[in-house]
Symmetry: C2
Subunit: 449 residues, 2 copies
């Protein structure tokens, strides 16, 4: 056993106690419950681990930055958040959400998995590495802990752009991580971006009796024509230039995709489907994560109650999200959409931009991932699973680009049944230990690559 591992085993209870203390403080960003108190407590905990802490006021909740320098000038950044999801429905919790409880080798509390337990594990890893080096850190460490992640992080991207010097680093570890059902650690190397828009049509000043459907313009039909113009029946987006910036799959992407586990049967069963879209299967299905999408989140028009209501709707709207792949940028894609609608004769359509995130993609062969893969194998005796591109979107782009194309790793203490956002959220203590060991090793060696 290494001295780092030994430290972790000997001091485990202290780390668990600190996790319990942090989780006992509510911090529900959706309602504001306990958020300020939790920011203060988190700052105190960061300081207690020898970090120099600054608390920045924002339009929303404070953003905390804790820094420590190390022997190497290389710095590793950790992103976490101190806010949590609302605990409701309370009756589905075995023990109260803000009274952390240990049972059957796991710690239960709202936020323990997402991601207060993750934050404490990282600080615990820092402590173990410091102890192994006589109080000194082998590399610099910067902790960014925000308080609005559970309400879509409206502030963090602007904050990063305004604090490039303070946050300068050479790699980052994202908020959570851990192992899958088979005990394999994993990370993604990138994520798709997203452009959320709402398209609205108003064809008349009020709904009309549907006896007038031969003569009066229907917003429902108009919206339907607009939507149908966006994508063909083979899922190809019809907006000119939409695919111009898309990068082709690299040989390495294909290799990583091929190594991904086969979840087809599980997913088909989960969603009760016989086949995937367009009959995709095997590598074609895996590769389709590199396709941009045009998804309808919802459509609202006319009468939606029981029975019939004989109206021609005057208003119709649809919420859409376009998932963007590297190197599609949301601003450019939004402009293309707007121009296309006008050119198609849909200049009457209102396009409201609701939000967006940029795609990002790290280089799978970056030494940081090589290091992480080697250390993961050491801790877990299993290969690090590396997905080339997550299908969802992530505010990671807010760090990667502005901070100089830094590689970003997902590593931590989670497991497949962590129930983040759900009642009985938990972390398994064994995963907490192994995640801390993995994180400590990364801190230990990061200065050397």
């Amino acid at each position: 056993m290494t001295s780092i591992d030994q430290y972790i085993h000997v001091n485990l209870q202290k780390a668990i106690d600190e996790t319990i203390r942090l989780c006992a403080q509510p911090s529900v960003s959706a309602t504001g419950q306990g958020v300020r108190e939790c920011a203060a407590l988190t700052a105190e905990i960061l300081k207690g681990h020898g970090l120099e802490v600054q608390s920045f006021e924002t339009k929303g909740n404070p953003i905390l930055v804790g820094r420590a320098s190390g022997k190497s000038p290389r710095t590793l950044l950790f992103y976490n958040h101190y806010d949590v999801q609302p605990p409701e429905p309370l009756e589905l919790w075995t023990s109260p959400p803000f009274e952390p409880a240990l049972r059957d080798g796991a710690l239960y509390a709202r936020g323990v998995s997402d991601d207060k337990g993750e934050l404490i594990a990282r600080l615990f890893a820092l402590e173990a590495v410091r102890a192994a080096h006589g109080g000194e850190l082998p590399c610099g460490a910067t902790f960014v802990v925000e308080g609005e992640e559970e309400v879509s992080s409206p502030t963090i991207a602007g904050f990063v752009r305004q604090h490039l010097d303070l946050l300068a680093c050479h790699a980052a570890i994202w908020e959570v991580g851990g192992v899958d059902l088979e005990g394999k650690p994993g990370t993604t190397l990138g994520a798709r971006g997203i452009l959320d828009v709402e398209l609205s049509v108003e064809s008349m000043s009020m709904d009309a009796h549907s006896g007038n459907a031969h003569a009066l313009p229907s917003a429902a039909w108009r919206l339907l024509r607009v939507l149908a113009s966006l994508k063909d029946e083979n899922e190809r987006i019809l907006i000119p230039g939409w695919y111009d910036a898309c990068l082709p799959h690299s040989a390495r992407d294909l290799e990583l995709l091929a190594a991904q586990p086969d979840h087809e049967a599980y997913t088909r069963q989960q969603f009760g489907i016989e086949r995937f879209l367009n009959g995709l299967t095997g590598m074609e299905l895996k590769k389709s994560v590199f396709n941009p999408t045009c998804n309808i989140q919802g459509i609202t028009t006319g009468y939606q109650g029981p029975g019939a209501k004989t109206i021609v709707p005057a208003k119709a709207s649809a919420k859409l999200d376009f998932r963007l792949v590297p190197e599609q940028d949301p601003d450019g894609m939004y402009a293309k959409l707007c121009v296309y609608l006008v050119e198609q004769g849909f200049g009457d359509v209102q396009v409201q931009r609701i939000g967006s995130m940029e795609p990002y993609k790290s280089d799978a062969d970056h030494p940081f991932f090589q290091l992480s893969a080697r250390l993961a194998l050491e801790v877990y005796s299993k290969e690090l699973q590396m997905g080339p591109l997550a299908s969802g979107s992530s505010p990671i782009y807010a760090f990667t680009g502005p901070l100089g194309d830094i590689p970003v790793l997902w590593a931590g203490v989670g497991g497949p049944n962590g129930r983040a956002h759900s009642p009985d959220e938990n972390i398994v203590i064994e995963n907490f230990v192994n995640g801390t060991r993995y994180l400590a090793r990364i801190l230990d060696e990061f200065g050397t690559i």
Copy 2:
């Protein structure tokens, strides 16, 4: 002044008092309030006018039939209903809805215009004609008064089919009638039918994260493809055979359409539109009432709240109404729709039939309309406006076909500001008098044609 007119003028207050008595009795079929009591009161009033009354129990509210024979074997049927719309919102009434109030030459009450005042005017006309003929009626009269008109008359069509002998007649007068803004009396000679359906798609057993939009089937997109397959961009319905049964416009139809007033500017202003569908105007717009329609009443799918929700919807549904023109029959059209969807590869779409009404069309040159036109001119000094086909739908078809293609006239005591279904529903006493005079003349001469 004829003896009929004289009778009406002399006995007006009695008829108004009877209207007040009937309107003071609530009869809200949507809630059931007072419906049974009103059925009993209506039967009593019918009997009081010398009719032989039968009250038929149905699955819903009683249907009353009151009959009187006349000198001629020819019989005129009157259709009315004793139920009314809910009176809410109460705060918008100047006087309480079930406390009938006379002011400024009009009588205000819920149901007075739609159509208790109409019923009393018809009974008053009957009385005047009887008085003018020494107690005898010149023709037979049958009153059908139902109690579910305001909840879509679920019972009446079946009732008519089961009582063909009882209801046998040579022409009918529909529930309401009256004059337009220019004081002109009007009727329609037909109405389009309607087929109400709901199309539903379930693409998965639950909504999915929209990061899966490249691989999982969206019910929203599926429904959109289904709907787009129903109609082209020029409003032409694409279901094979949809237009097969449609009758061409007759020369008489075109003549009647040409005589219709031009409401284009008014309608454009009312709905805030610059142009009608497909740029229709003039005779082309008027003729388009003879087009079948495929209207979307509403679409429900996915997330419809504020902001964004990144889901692929598992369910989507749309309510549609198809307006049918003579001689399209709802059953046949429903079958064509179902077959088409399957043939287009949309066999996964659930088609729920919500309801339907058949189209009907009377012969504009029937002697009954010639008589009505002559008498309308006598009473109103204005030509009877005859529309060849109403754009909406009506349960009139439930009478016309089964009773032997009888002609059906709209004639009564309404005016352009009767506010049916709205607060301050009313009838203008002058219209009540003239409507009664017109109805009495029709009763007086109907036996002779």
